[in-house]
Symmetry: C2
Subunit: 394 residues, 2 copies
């Protein structure tokens, strides 16, 4: 397969870092402190491992950003696109240094005074939402007069709208996951454990081009009624449904698709019962209705309601007990959330899942999930795998 | 392959939870709040996905523990061994509830007073080290009079010594990773990108029984001199070394092995040069010396020094610029760290890596890493792959 994978140019990171600094200033933050994770990857293209040593992007409202990294990660840190292009200085610390004190000094310095003496009284600092307590509590300790808040209200404004390169990566990931669904549906399932099928899903996600396989939910029989079931040692039997919800990342961007299968074991007498067929038809209609509702200017809660209405009309309202979807990008779940109460209108370039489900707890359930990008006058559907109930021999 | 994988019984989790509560009380904490991650897995056997919704183990010093979970994860939460066995009540919250306020009320209730009115003034709360800022800042907000500290000084005392079942899982993971090293060393390497080899490593880690492939460092040529290099688009050439550092998890417990290869492309003239052979021999001796130093009662810093001494004696001291090792268990890096300054004596059952490296930055480098368990009178080496320089055609 010839790869035409888009790569994000260094200038894009420079612009994102500059925008983050400006937004920090507008919001009254002295600095944004970004730990390892999706925010760092978005702003600096640096996919550092989330280890216990502090790696941190320091973005002051005034003055340029820096990347603080342990010395033994100096080479990869200096290789991230904005650092390699000279837009982002890298400050390293040694094994016996106190990196949190180093960051605290940089923040105090940036907030206007002499590093050694200025207190941080009254300054507000934003931290990336996934910064672990091991770093946050130490930063709070080193900056006792500062107040700390989440950075997502600032950084989310940048990350929530995807550019063309990001959409291309999401599309590539979606198509790779589509192929895995087709492969699993065509293979043997009956008599295998859910965990064994999940292992195969992960291998196939990698083989189809994902650099990481993040999840492989295989919910068979009654487990299909537990939305966040993982994959157990339960053996799949003929005559039951399987909810398959799988995803990984390509170029850091996520895939996430759910399809519902029914395995007959080759016995025509073990096809889906009438109630399941009806339940699935209702669900299919709801998923289509929500997708059709997507358009710039529409609220996420209206999309959520569009999925919920047909399900409630058939008496399954109580059986659809989660939101309709979540944003996707460098994180598997991010803004915008497609949920009641979210009234911030959709904008062109937002990417999210549409994934209603109907769960008869203890019995069985079904879910259909696609990734959709909001276009100016309608949805752009990234997944191409058929949305029907996959009745297969298994 | 017939699986004889040990499973941790529900009673073990009950005992761990009880021990955590007692230790919390002794340390003066009103409660320990444990988010999704290794601590939760250790204490409750619950491998919840680290999503944005709050899942939290609440362990008060007085009274029993509870597991707070979003309603849509009620089924997996109630299926974790101590919950299924009736030792751990599960409290669910709905999509529109405030789960952080719920936890705050539980903490205030546990600290002795009426939930609605008692302030949390003066109480100390421990949080798991990996709890994300999105939860910690909200908990700090809902409990403004409480002080928050890291839970690792308490929970680390439990987790740092592995029991027989944990060592069995670490051993199974180590052997699976050993097999992958042998497979990669026997295969084609020259002409492929590091990223392509890393993909193969991940697939093979899964095929050999890992449920997740966590990392696959493939550092070729000059990249072998960057300890935390990942895997790039660099094409591997004949006549250079490759540092292969790979790992994943089996039953939640990690593998982590490093071997250094030299690829000749089948050309006997492209074998390792004299300097590299010497460097590797020094490293091999250092790794063996550090391993031999492992014994109950010895300090980690003495083990670190045992690795460093022969490397310094040959003038490579500056080229070994990271600690000698890290603990391993439900986390890839955890206590005990094998580093200068760590004077807490090793105890029987502690498990950690021994991984010195010599890095001539810009040129090339090498590392050898094994997982070792501290025995009463010596090391128990879990990896069985040869430690020699793998000179292969590639």
């Amino acid at each position: 397969m010839i790869s035409s994978r888009p790569s994000i140019p260094a200038e894009r990171y420079r612009d994102r870092l500059a925008a983050a600094g400006s937004l920090a200033g507008e919001a009254g933050f002295a600095a944004i402190l970004v730990g390892v994770g999706a925010d760092m990857r978005y702003l600096a293209g640096y996919p550092a491992m989330p280890l216990e040593r502090l790696t941190m992007l320091v973005i002051p409202a005034e003055g340029g950003p820096s990347l603080v990294a342990p010395r033994l990660e100096a080479t990869p840190a200096r290789s991230c696109p904005p650092a390699a292009a000279g837009f982002l200085p890298v400050v390293t610390w040694d094994e016996t240094d106190d990196p949190h004190a180093l960051v605290a000094a940089m923040v105090r310095g940036a907030s206007g005074g002499d590093r050694a003496t200025t207190s941080a009284a009254g300054i507000r600092i934003a931290v990336s939402d996934d910064l672990p307590a091991r770093h946050l509590l130490r930063l709070e300790d080193r900056l006792p007069d500062a107040s700390f808040e989440l950075a997502s209200p600032v950084l989310g404004r940048l990350r929530i709208v995807k550019d063309a390169d990001e959409i291309a990566l999401l599309t590539e990931a979606a198509h790779a996951a589509d192929r895995v669904v087709a492969q699993i549906a065509a293979g043997r399932l009956v008599g295998r454990t859910e965990a064994d099928v999940a292992r195969e899903v992960r291998e196939r996600l990698l083989a189809e081009g994902h650099e990481e396989a993040h999840f492989a939910i295989v919910g068979s029989g009654p487990n299909s009624a537990s939305p966040h079931h993982d994959a157990s040692e339960r053996v799949i039997a003929a005559g039951e449904p399987i909810v398959l919800d799988i995803g990984g990342t390509i170029g850091g961007y996520g895939s996430d698709i759910t399809r519902t299968l029914w395995v007959t074991g080759g016995d025509p007498g073990k096809g889906p019962d009438e109630r399941f067929r009806h339940l699935f038809a209702v669900l299919d209609g709801a998923q289509a209705a929500a997708t059709r509702a997507v358009r710039a200017g529409v609220t996420p809660e209206a999309v959520d309601a569009a999925a919920r209405r047909p399900i409630e009309a058939e008496g399954y309202g109580e059986a659809f007990f989660h939101r309709t979807g979540h944003g996707i990008g460098l994180e598997g779940h991010e803004d915008p959330y497609i949920i009641a109460g979210n009234t911030e209108p959709l904008r062109e370039g937002m990417a999210f899942s549409i994934e209603p489900g109907i769960y008869l707890v203890g019995e069985y359930g079904a879910r259909i999930e696609d990734i959709v990008v909001c276009g100016s006058d309608g949805p752009i559907e990234l997944n191409e795998a058929p949305r029907e109930l996959y009745v297969v021999d298994g």
